[in-house]
Point group: D5
Chain length 153, copies 10
């Protein structure tokens, strides 16, 4: 494995699942294509957290798009970070925005957006959409294309 | 209008919406193709009732298939009957089965089935499927083909 | 053109649109594969008739499946026959069954079925499904596969 | 529960279903991410009101997108507010616009839009689309992606 | 019924189907939300006219979007107007444009567009798309989203 | 609430989320339609457990169909039971079969089946399908209709 | 290449496109899994022939399923055979049945079926379905699953 | 038929299929809505040509959008022109561009674009997209919406 | 890890990718639900092998269904086995059948079937379907539901 | 074959599969439509490479769009080049970007973009999107329209 990955603590190691988002160690490596404005999309249909009021589980389909600048996120650490919300109590908006803002703090990307597509509660799902601002000029940003909630029929 | 329809009280009249399923007058006319075993499908994506515990509204997509014998249901009276559940409190299973059994009582059909596809509560939708027995031999009974509940993503 | 088609009055001729189903001349030719039990499907998404009560137009998507015996229907005459319902007032069930029964009378097929998928009235579409009996053993009869009515969302 | 929610009268209480939109108490809490322009989408496939002319039920699939400024809507109160149209007679346009304008009055959002996708009447569904103006620059506003009305076939 | 509707000749009356587009009385009422730029979509999957050359029936799926100014179209009169093309002979482009232009003349809307999605002839369907110009700034104009013609397979 | 529900410990009470499947109290009530062979479908797209080897989270979409005999499952207790697998480590087959067999033990149904549609691991998802035997004669058992795994493209 | 393929005249050779079905040399090789009843499906969405009356081109999507006995068809020769209909004038039924019967003659399979899904003419597509009889017991014969003709909308 | 069509040689006549694109007579008539910038879409899923290297057939799904100025193409002549590529050998790009450029030469339209969606060769389909430049301001140009190539699964 | 897994050589170990199917060690463990006839489905959209004639890569989407008897396949070893075809030259039928037959030899299951959905060559994809015989009575065997090949458009 | 193709080493020759991307000879020919800004799309659902860390196979669906200037890529050489990644170890981002950048170096196109849609690892697929900058003014660049990753359900 190249030097780039030598400081990493999780990739290529057996890693315990972090118990909270705070304990999760989100790691970064230098962007191997720094200077080229490309977009990376992570699709995570396996996301769950807890309702901060009732403690009942919540579920979401999360899609993250970002244009790296000097750093990219190491993907195993991202996976463990997302899984660390499993026992974390927070509202839909807070979970979605926290993920985005932690990535922004870690990576200082040229641009980032997140779509949080939450399962319905009370018959009404909530989706949360945020981006750091207008996409950088000239970068290709496809639709996330997640199917809208349909109900039945 | 032919004699067949002369006893009807709702078709071709301004009809007040019945306040309860009990008040609804479900009407029938002689089967114009008696002796021919054909299937009629009514699809009602506009169904709502009330939760008997909380009084909150419930919604369903209802599909009714039947093979008439001597009688067919008059469709305007069926529409009014289905709409009469709007202020009726009952569980999903009860609403679905009540509709089916009232039609069976009225029509004494060769065969009938109902699919009740209810909107999710607590993240889990309930579907109710009932038929009066195996379909009559030689009758064509297509799938109802209602999309399964998908959640998100 | 082969002798088979010599008696036909419409195929290969300019044909006026018949004004009523009664005036329509539904024609047949000998089954070129008589003795082989194959199924022919006609899909007609362009069907319209009139409501016998109000005179307002009705629309349907009609699919006809049949297994010919000695005769097959000449398809131009079928097209003109279906179009002849344009100014014909009849209920959904009657239109659907009339088409099927006229074809049965003309062709005396080994088997025939019809699916009439009508556009909604009062929020509730009606579908009519009929077949002459169980399909002949060994004949391949695929689903018609017409999308169920969805409403909105 | 945090102080933010202490003034709320419905969340975490047993709440009677309000009888009319006027009686519904639509509540707000401070935007926990004020200063960050994100979009929240509520999808409500369970909406019904009454025709003001005939008293017959109407149904719609409603999608609301908004970019909060100082306030966000409390979602249980939104659910009860939407359900309060159940016995309210109003035209499609009026229902759709009333919901939007009440939310605007309550929240003074940076931006809001509503899509009302109504079930067909007379064979023709009506959709109503409104937004408070062009979306704020740099905010991500995905398509609502609701399937168009198809009819049959 | 409010005063607004008092001059109307069709809504709330038994109305004979007009025989031609010329005979159809397309009616308007004052825009109840004048001053608010919202979009209304009518989807009409039940449209038929006649080929001006052959007299054979043509079919189309028509979608109309408009942003009202001082007037809105009364929807029952629109339905009857669209149905009045049933015995009208005109090319696809002419039917589509005539509908649009008659609505523009009646309503003087802020903006209008029409999509005419015609059924195939000679294996090739024709679609006609027209709008009165660029949409007004700040108005939300979703895709019509009609499925493209697929052929088979 | 009717007497039927009086012995229940969870429905209509604030219920703590059970920590394990063993601690979960799955409750039943008498079948209100005993003697009528109908099918009930629960769709649970929000299911998660842990890998017994690695402790990493697993996800599944679970669909349960059953034909009650004397008892039906109380649905809030079912929801809590399914959620109790959140910190439970077991293989896909074991989770799926355990759910089915616990329901069988509780309800002694006429028939039951379960489909467990698991998210991919190592690029290959596993689905588990089990039923208690051939469906009872004359009962209507629709396809579960869950979309097959597609991968990408 | 194994001996099996030594007698073949087209596979592994530059092969001129045969001008007619008669000139096409459809070749066979011994079934490498003789004694095991498996099904092979060829899907050919690229099929065209000529109308025997007008000389205009016709198009079809053809799917062939067969259970080989002693022989399998060599697939390059099948491709050339199907392409040889390009200048061949025949009705839809004849083309479809000819392909099936030539394969039956060549291969003497345990079972064969063909689905011919033709593009619409006069607004009405024709599908032709034929099989040699009921499928052999114990052989797995999935639906061909070709999308039904939809028209527009 | 109106004077406009009097010079036409194919519409309303029995027309032999032209043998080559060069022999095809593509005809035009005056734009009946000259001065109104509308878009016309022709969808042709029935297109075939020959590979110039191997002589093997190629297939494509072709969609043409244009905004007429003084002329519109006569659609029967367009159909015959497209069919005239049947025995024409040319690369995918050349066929697609030739069609577009011949229409531009004939019609001098305000704008034109073509999408050529070719069937895969070597496992990789090629699509060709061309337009005469940016669409004219204010003209409505919907997506062509052709499904992307999926492969299998 | 339980004793059951102690003899395994690959699960929980770093495992080199086997170079050929022959070198791949397909492992089994005792069926933990022996005596219960359930079905397990593996979906592998990531399969590739080589053409035995040209050496060019082939691709397939493979779905395996089986009803275990005394043994189940260890899934990591299955994944490695499927990947071992990467440099293996064999025809579509042979690859598909070899996989099935090796599993049958290893597991001696109550029943097994395989669907091999291969990417098109020469414009025509081949699917291979095989099962060990009719499914055991009372076992639930859902459709594999893989989308049919569509071509373009 | 025209002179243009005379220098090519692979088209029309039997070509061994290159063992690495470095050994692959990507060839170009003069753009036959130089001066016309059209877009060419290659869709490759058959792409595989190796993980540089573990040596396990990776799979992707790759779509390349470019607007040629003086050169176009010869498509057989492109196919062989893409296939040459089969035994190449590289990260998802690197494979995707390498393909794009090699094409840019070879062709010096007016514009190019690539979408790499990778199969999930650890439950989370990665997509990579890059373009050389904003598309040239006036060129038509349709969405790639690849279905988003769905997970299950
Ligand atoms: Ca888009
Ligand atoms: Ca719905
Ligand atoms: Ca079915
Ligand atoms: Ca849903
Ligand atoms: Ca089926
Ligand atoms: Ca969009
Ligand atoms: Ca769009
Ligand atoms: Ca089915
Ligand atoms: Ca099926
Ligand atoms: Ca339609
Ligand atoms: Ca679009
Ligand atoms: Ca795929
Ligand atoms: Ca099925
Ligand atoms: Ca096609
Ligand atoms: Ca788009
Ligand atoms: Ca899902």
């Amino acid at each position: 494995m190249s030097e780039t990955y030598q400081g990493l603590t999780q990739l290529g190691h057996a890693s315990a699942q972090p118990a909270t988002p705070e304990q999760a160690v989100l790691e970064r490596v230098p962007n191997p294509h720094a200077g080229t404005a490309y977009l990376v999309r992570f699709t995570c249909p396996e996301f769950t957290s807890l309702c901060p009021i009732t403690g009942q589980p919540d579920f979401a389909h999360i899609v993250i798009d970002y244009v790296p600048d000097g750093w990219i996120v190491e993907s195993k650490s991202l996976k463990l970070y997302l899984a660390s919300f499993r026992n974390h109590g927070a509202f839909h908006e807070a979970c979605t925005m926290d993920i985005a803002q932690r990535l922004v703090a870690l990576l200082d990307p040229l641009w980032l957006r997140i779509g949080g597509y939450w399962f319905p509660r009370g018959g009404i799902p909530i989706d949360v959409f945020w981006q750091t601002g207008a996409p950088p000029a000239g970068v290709w940003v496809p639709d996330q294309g997640v199917a809208p909630y349909r109900g039945r029929g």
